[in-house]
Structure formats: structure tokens, C-alpha cells
Amino acid sequence: MADFKEKIAHHAELAWFIVMLVMVAVFFSWSVIEVTNGSSTSIRYGLPLFSGLPAQAQQAVLTFEKSPPANRTSEVVDGILVVNMTAMQNGTFSDVFHPNVIVAQPGEPITIILNSPQVITGFFIRLPDGVVNVNAVPNEPSYVYFVAPNQPGNYTWREPELAGYDFSYMTGTLEVV
């Protein structure tokens, strides 16, 4: 035992390096498993890619885009609330998000198609089960998928990227009723 301790003391760096590599391998493997199974929080709350959406949400988006509703902003497709959202500024900070209110039922799956035609913007909301946080770049929509909280109430989303002087005030409300 004493010999072993001495060996460890003499090879502490090598031992520590191996420990760190094992940690890296474990963390990395965990990420790969989470992503491939679609069970990581990033996937669940909307990796900002179409391919990152769950299969049902992808189908709902395709259906929505094929035959948009009359209001062109939101529709429930196969039990998923699809919202076509655009962030546009016109000299004032009010009403940047269109729509700036989403009304959902508790536990309802929500998919947002986030368009940002002017500058880079984003969508940040803290919910009881976690955080949704994505960016959107011009001419390339980002996709968000999450589940509305089970607790009814109003939840504020914010614009997290510097997108002009007023970005601190660019908000919207998720109403869970």
C-alpha cells in the first residue's frame, strides 16, 4: 500500500491526466448519448435546428408551412402549437416580437419558428423545468421546441443578444392558461 501511494505521488501528473481524460470521455459520451437519443435538454428545449426538433414537431412544422393558417402566426398541428415568430424593429422597442404573446395550455408542446430578418436576435425564457435559449440569424430560421409549464401563469421571454440600443426591453409573454 505504501509502495502504491509512493508510486502515485511520483506519477501524480500522469495519474491526474488519465483521470481528466476519463472525465472527458465520460462527459463526451454522455453528450453523444443525449443528443442521439434526443433526450438532452438542448434537444428537448429546442436545439436551434430543424433536425434538432423531435420527429412529431418536424412533421407539424412541415404541415404548418405547407398550409399556413389565416393568421399566419400560430396553429395547433397534431397537438403541437406551432408559432411562426418574427423579430423586427422599427425605431421603437415595443412589439419587436410578432407575435409577442403566446397562449398555451399547461403541458402543451410548443414549436417556434424564429425569423430574424434584420439583425441577429434570440429567444430566452426561464421556465420551471429549465431554460430555452437560442439565437436566430438573418435569412436562416432557428427552431425552438419546448413544453409549456404545468403551472398556469405568465412567463416572460427576452431577447438575449445585443440587437440595438433597446434590446433590454424586447420581451414577450407566454400565457399558460
Binding site: 501528473e13 491526474w16 453523444v32 438532452s40 435546428l49 422599427n90 425605431g91 438573418p138 440600443y165
Partner: protein
């Protein structure tokens, strides 16, 4: 009476002789390696002052949770001043000064001193020109916000139209000049390396990361030129491609100063531990891991952007491998300290080195979860990230830089050392700086985890106590670094290399002053103290003895 006026005029003329053409030329275009080191150190300190002043302006606004949108104009101009001064001014100049010093310390020299000082002034001129335009898009100047000039957005407050393109061209010239300076350092290191000798650990890190700067800084130049071409010639910008190009520089830039400072830590820690480095072999192998790794992980800044899943997997792995390299550094240095018979933290350089190491551990721990993309979106774009990288800046970078600077003062003037009272002041200053800023770093990360978004000027009142505490602690901390660097500089500038010199003279120009000046021809700072002490009505005075 007339004699007195004449005498006074002579004294004044003597004072102003410091600013003679030849002296000014020596300062602006030094012809020695130590002169170039001084120049880049002075540039770093000047930009550090700008960075700090802009930061305190920002912190003042953030003590109020409901700033009106009109505040945004001023706030984001100061935010960009803070960021550009730090990342485009302080960081490259500090990196070059530390690398040049590492070469000097290990017996190498700079051959093309005029080129180095020319690049110094060119880089400064380009950056200052761009800053005069009042940029307000943030330091990483994302497109298309950074090229907009319309009723909704304007990237510069003072520059419009073609002037914006010229501002980006000036920035491109500035970063190009910095690249040329680092290429020159590599070239001079190769040419002046002592034959048959291995590079010392300090300069091995310094020169290796000069290569990394030379390889990655051109990505910034290219990104800036792309903006120039967009504004002046209508060349379209692909937003995602620009982001990838920018972060290819934008991530390694955070290592420009820390990694050469790792070399300094590998040099100082054994010295103040009174034992050899725990493993120099691993320290040298680690250079490859850190150098290559630093260029492979840039996309982790884009975790919330629509980038493909395989790229995400790659950056997750590569970032963690790089983190292993940093962990190895900490282990190597930590074991050197822990297995020593006693670390000499009472020495100012020893104290600054220790604070750099401790701060790096505390700041580095905050970064471990960030490459994990199940975790990253929870804190991306929040003060969690701001707390992490500022904590590393405040400790590893600024305290490591302070350690090197204090050592520079000792090295360039043989015989100079810090007196007991100055040592106490410097050490106290280092602690007054480090302790509040470690708390600030963790407070920022806590509020970030709770949802405080970075760069906002209005925020939920939940975060008010955090922001008030952060601003107050920052005010206290800043006094610390002024005390540490100020005390060291005063000690250095008022030091005379003479031991005990006391001369009586009835002449209006003391002979000792002339004699000593002749001995140290060309040493600007040596002369300063002698003139201040000895040219008082031509009377005698004792030159100050510090040791």
C-alpha cells in the same frame, strides 16, 4: 535677483531637456530589446486604464435597474470602448510585451526594434481612429448590426457611410500590424536563440504562443476586411460564415496573454517555492496540447446558433481536451507549491504569481460546464459567462501580468529591489484587488445562472442587490491594482542605482548629476530621478538610497 531668474530658467530648461528630440525618439522608437518591452508594457497599461474607466462607467449605470432606452446610446458606446480597448488593444500589446520579455529573460533579443515600434504605433493609430468613430455594436461586432447605418441601427455614432468602411480598414491595419510584430518575435527568437541550448520554459511558452497569435490574428484581419469590402464595395456577408471566421480568432485571443503567462508561472512558481518545477517535461509537452487545442474549439461560442450537430460534438470534445491541458498546468504548479518547504508569498512577484494561480483555478472551474451543450444554453449570453471570463482576466491575466511587470522592473535595472514599505503596499494592493474581484466573478456567475442577461441596461429587480454589490466591490478592487502598480512604479522611478552618494557643490549644476547621467546615457528613467533630486538651485542633495 537676475541671477535667481537665470538659475530658475536653467533649472526649467534642465527639466525640459528630458523631452529633447533624441530622448523622445528613444522613447517612441527604442533601439533596444528592453526599450521595446517597455513600449509594449506602457501601451498595455494605457489601454488597461481605458478599459477600467469604461468598465466603471458601465457599472455605474448598472446600479440602476430601469435605465431608459436613451441610456443605451452612451452605454453601448462605452461597452464597445471597453471591449475593443481590452481585446484589440490591451490583450495583443500585453501578450507581445510578455513574450518579448520571456525572450529577453532567456537571453534572446529583438533585432528589428524599429519594426516593432513602428507596428506598435500603427496598431495604436488604427484602433484609436476606429474608436473615435464611437462604435456601439459590442466588441464582437456581429453582422449585420456592425455594418448597419439606417434609422433603426447605426454601428458608429460619429462615422457614417464610407467612413465606417475606412474605420474597419483601420482596424484591419491595426490587427495586421500586431500580427507582423508577433511574426517578428518568432523570427528574432529563432535568430537569437543561444546555440546548443534548450529554450527556457518561460520563453518556450512565449514563443509558441507568438506562433498561435500569428496564425489566428489574421482571421480577425480578414473579418474586418470583409466588412470594409461590404461597406465600400457592396460585397455580401454570410452571417454564419463571418461568425465562424471571427471566433477562429475570437476564442484563441482569450489565450494570447494567459498562455505566455503560463510560461511565466512555470518560471516564477518554482523560484518562489524554492524547488524545481514538479515536472518540466509535462510542462513542455503541454505546450502542444494547449497550442493546438486553442485553435480547435472556437465554435463553442456559437452553441445557441443554428450550427450542425456534428460540429457541436466536435467542439464539446475538443474543448474538454483543452480543459485537460489547463488542468495539467494547475496540477503541475499546484504540486510544486504544495511539495515545497514554504512558498515565498511575501515577495511581491511571488504574491502576484500566487494570486494568478489561485484565480485561474477559481475562474477555470466556472468554465468546465460551458462546453457541455446540454448545459451551455442555460447560461449562454448571461452574466455567468461574463463572471467566468472576467474572473480569469482579473486574476490570471492581470495578476500574472502584474507579476511579470514587477519582475521587469527588477530585471531592467540591476540592483533595484522593492523596499519593505513598498513590498507591503504592493502586496496589500494585490490582495485588495484580488479578493473583491473573486467575489465579483462569482456574484456575476450566480446572477447569470439565475437569468441576468449580459449587456442589458434594464433588468428585473431581483438582480439589483447583485449588481449593486458588484459595482461597489469593483470600486474597492480598482484601488488595489492602482496601489500595487502605482507603488511599484513610484519605487522604480525614484530609485537611484548609486549606493550612497553625497556631494557638495557650489556650482549651479551639481557635478554628480552630470557624472551619473554620463554613466547611464540613454536611460530615460534614470535621468528623471537625478534631475528631480539634484537641480534645486544648484544646491546639493543626497541621492535616494533604497537598498
Amino acid at each position: 535677483m537676475s541671477f535667481q531668474v537665470k538659475d530658475v530658467l536653467k533649472i526649467i530648461s534642465n527639466y525640459f531637456s528630458i523631452f529633447s528630440t533624441s530622448n523622445i525618439k528613444k522613447v517612441l522608437f527604442p533601439s533596444t530589446t528592453s526599450g521595446v518591452i517597455w513600449q509594449y508594457f506602457a501601451g498595455s497599461l494605457a489601454w488597461l486604464a481605458v478599459v477600467g474607466m469604461a468598465a466603471m462607467n458601465l457599472r455605474t449605470y448598472l446600479t440602476y435597474p430601469s435605465n431608459s432606452p436613451e441610456v443605451g446610446v452612451t452605454y453601448y458606446a462605452f461597452l464597445t470602448l471597453h471591449g475593443w480597448s481590452a481585446m484589440l488593444g490591451l490583450v495583443p500589446f500585453a501578450a507581445i510585451s510578455v513574450i518579448a520579455y520571456s525572450m529577453y529573460k532567456d537571453g534572446m533579443s529583438i533585432r528589428r526594434t524599429k519594426l516593432m515600434s513602428g507596428m506598435f504605433w500603427l496598431a495604436n493609430a488604427g484602433l484609436i481612429f476606429a474608436l473615435l468613430g464611437g462604435p456601439d455594436m459590442g466588441w464582437y461586432m456581429y453582422p449585420p448590426l456592425a455594418v448597419e447605418d439606417n434609422s433603426n441601427f447605426h454601428a458608429f455614432l460619429n462615422y457614417h457611410g464610407a467612413l465606417m468602411g475606412i474605420a474597419y480598414l483601420a482596424l484591419a491595419i491595426s490587427s495586421l500590424a500586431q500580427t507582423i510584430a508577433t511574426v517578428n518575435l518568432v523570427s528574432d527568437a529563432y535568430a537569437t536563440k543561444p546555440k546548443g541550448q534548450k529554450l527556457g520554459i518561460f520563453s518556450a511558452y512565449g514563443v509558441a504562443f507568438a506562433v498561435i497569435i500569428a496564425l489566428t490574428l489574421p482571421a480577425l484581419t480578414a473579418a474586418e476586411l470583409w466588412y470594409t469590402l461590404n461597406i465600400l464595395a457592396g460585397v455580401p456577408i454570410n452571417t454564419l460564415l463571418w461568425l465562424v471566421l471571427f471566433w477562429f480568432y475570437g476564442h484563441p485571443v482569450v489565450y494570447y496573454v494567459p498562455f505566455p503567462l503560463f510560461g511565466a508561472l512555470y518560471y516564477f512558481v518554482p523560484k518562489f517555492s524554492g524547488r524545481p518545477l514538479f515536472s518540466e517535461k509535462w510542462a513542455r509537452w503541454n505546450i502542444y496540447l494547449l497550442a493546438i487545442g486553442s485553435m480547435l474549439i472556437w465554435v463553442h461560442h456559437l452553441q445557441t446558433f443554428p450550427i450542425p450537430v456534428p460540429v457541436r460534438l466536435w467542439i464539446n470534445l475538443s474543448t474538454l481536451v483543452l480543459a485537460s491541458g489547463s488542468g495539467l498546468t494547475v496540477l503541475n504548479l499546484g504540486l510544486t507549491v504544495l511539495t515545497s518547504k514554504g512558498y515565498n508569498y511575501k515577495d511581491p512577484v511571488g504574491m502576484a504569481t500566487l494570486m494568478a494561480l489561485i484565480g485561474f483555478i477559481l475562474g477555470g472551474v466556472q468554465a468546465v460546464p460551458l462546453p457541455m451543450f446540454p448545459i451551455n444554453p442555460i447560461v449562454h449570453n448571461t452574466y455567468y459567462v461574463v463572471g467566468h471570463f472576467h474572473l480569469v482576466i482579473w486574476t490570471l491575466i492581470l495578476m500574472g501580468f502584474t507579476a511579470v511587470f514587477l519582475d521587469v522592473l527588477r530585471t531592467v535595472r540591476p540592483g533595484f529591489d522593492y523596499s519593505k514599505s513598498a513590498t507591503r503596499l504592493i502586496n496589500a494592493g494585490i490582495l485588495v484587488w484580488t479578493i473583491p474581484f473573486v467575489i465579483v466573478g462569482y456574484l456575476m456567475s450566480m446572477e447569470g445562472y439565475m437569468g441576468m442577461l449580459r449587456r442589458v441596461i434594464a433588468y428585473p429587480t431581483t438582480f439589483y442587490p447583485y449588481n449593486l454589490s458588484i459595482s461597489l466591490l469593483a470600486e474597492i478592487g480598482i484601488a488595489g491594482i492602482v496601489m500595487a502598480i502605482g507603488s511599484a512604479l513610484v519605487e522604480f522611478l525614484t530609485y537611484s542605482p548609486s549606493t550612497t552618494v553625497s556631494v557638495s557643490s557650489g556650482t549651479s549644476t551639481p557635478s554628480v548629476s552630470l557624472a551619473t547621467q554620463q554613466n547611464m546615457k540613454g536611460e530615460f528613467f534614470d535621468n528623471l530621478k537625478l534631475k528631480l533630486n539634484n537641480n534645486v538651485y544648484g544646491k546639493t542633495s543626497d541621492l535616494r538610497r533604497l537598498k
